[in-house]
């Protein structure tokens, strides 16, 4: 009995869902051809380093970090929008008090970044960077402007559909996720190899926000709802996965 109680029992997370995530080599997205590893990934059991992770708190946040329209003296150009939702795990449980970071292009489709120099205007009142923490129900909310589409050089007449980059920590190293949120009905989806790198159409739809009329604020801003699902936990703690190799 005493030996059992001394055993280190670790909570486990489900393995990374290879069907939902894009394959690292997706030749339509040309940069993957010289950057995707060629060797198969090595199985890493989930032990202490994997089932823990940084719990980054409010010390990282400024008062207006969640409102990208109020970070300068004036308001940015563009359609004001509310982007909100919940961060959940695969079993529908809220992921509370967790850092969410976003970055995006301005309304004209240009990033405030030294290497983005296509001929669309910068906006002196828009940085395009936001941060917030989920509340105790896993909810988050940003106020920003609708980002524009922008061209890139991946293929002939290539344009990225409008999107907002999202970075999520969850509560464990295993749950770390960086994704992009898209807008419903975008006509540019069909030619975008990054969006289509996710092969399962249902999984692709999970990257598309839905218009949320109930949360749209009269005479002020349109709302979009974007729930994010991080991987869930195994049903019961387990002792080791070494034999699964």
């Amino acid at each position: 009995m005493s030996e059992t109680t001394r055993k280190l029992l670790l909570p486990g997370y489900r393995r990374d869902d290879v069907e939902a995530h894009p394959p690292l080599l997706s030749p339509g997205y040309k940069s993957t051809v010289i950057r995707a590893p060629q060797q198969p990934l090595t199985y890493l059991p989930q032990r202490l380093t994997e089932i823990t992770g940084p719990l980054l708190g409010e010390g990282r946040l400024g008062e207006l970090d969640h409102d990208l329209t109020r970070q300068h003296d004036g308001e940015p150009q563009g359609q004001r929008i509310i982007v909100h939702g919940r961060v959940l795990d695969g079993d529908g449980r809220a992921v509370p008090h967790s850092l969410v970071e976003i970055w995006q292009a301005n309304a004209a489709g240009r990033y405030r970044h030294a290497i983005d120099n296509w001929p669309a205007p910068l906006d002196p009142h828009f940085t395009g960077v936001g941060r917030t923490l989920t509340d105790d129900q896993g909810r988050y909310e940003f106020v920003t402007v609708q980002p524009g589409a922008y061209p890139w050089r991946n293929h002939d007449n290539a344009w990225r559909p409008a999107h907002i980059h999202f970075s999520l920590f969850g509560r464990a190293f295993t749950q770390r996720l960086v994704t992009q949120m898209y807008f419903p009905g975008d006509p540019l989806f069909s030619q975008d190899p990054i969006f289509n790198s996710v092969r399962d159409p249902q999984a692709r739809e999970r990257m598309v926000a839905r218009y949320d009329h109930a949360a749209t604020r009269p005479e002020w801003a349109l709302a979009y709802r974007f729930d994010i699902v991080l991987r869930g936990r195994e049903a019961t703690p387990f002792e080791d996965e070494d034999d699964d190799e």
Binding site: T32, I115, V129
Partner: protein, 189 residues
């Protein structure tokens, strides 16, 4: 068990990751001036050997006593004895592909099997052209515990050295080769 929700798929951080993910204090797992602290520097290169100037690494590690200040550490969450220890580091690459993290050596870790994991950092690599993060580990070169490490043991012996840092003037060097000859070992978690 309730019905499983589908996870949100990963997407690349793209070429403009710096605006969203750079933190001024990102590289500092421990503050400047911490006794015993050192730098881990490394260069990320692609399959053609060219530097990857639009990537970012994030590190996660135990404190020097082998503990995590986290409620899921079954031995109990415990603040590190090193003041200002965050456990987490984040560093984007410069135009030549170099990143740098300022840290201290983590302690060894017990496993549920009663084995011991050698001191290591978990590393996530994000970048343009990477549709999902890559996960690797940094081990230390002068560490006898590496020989019995249950993760290193499962790695092809001819590739194990890609997971071990090299000594450098102010700490260690850990290069990451995304693809091709001497490709770094990456993990599925």
């Amino acid at each position: 068990m309730s019905e499983r929700l589908g996870v949100t798929p990963a997407q690349t951080v793209g070429p403009y990751l710096h605006i969203g993910l750079s933190w001024p204090d990102g590289p500092y797992v421990v503050p400047e001036g911490t006794p015993g602290a050192f730098w881990i520097r490394g260069r990320i290169v692609d399959g053609t050997g060219a530097p990857v100037g639009d990537a970012m690494v994030e590190s996660w590690q135990a404190d020097p006593d082998g503990h995590f200040d986290h409620p899921d550490d079954p031995r109990g969450a415990r603040a590190a004895t090193v003041p200002g220890f965050r456990g987490f580091g984040r560093a984007d690459t410069d135009a030549e592909g170099w990143y740098a993290l300022h840290t201290v050596r983590p302690g060894p870790l017990p496993t549920p099997d009663g084995e011991t994991e050698a001191p290591h950092l978990n590393l996530s690599v994000f970048g343009r052209g990477l549709l999902h993060r890559l996960v690797t580990r940094i081990y230390f070169p002068d560490e006898p515990a590496n020989a019995a490490d249950p993760v290193l043991r499962t790695v092809d012996p001819g590739r194990r050295d890609t997971l071990v840092a090299r000594p450098a003037a102010d700490g260690y060097q850990f290069d990451i080769r995304l693809q091709g000859e001497h490709e770094t070992v990456f993990f599925a978690v």
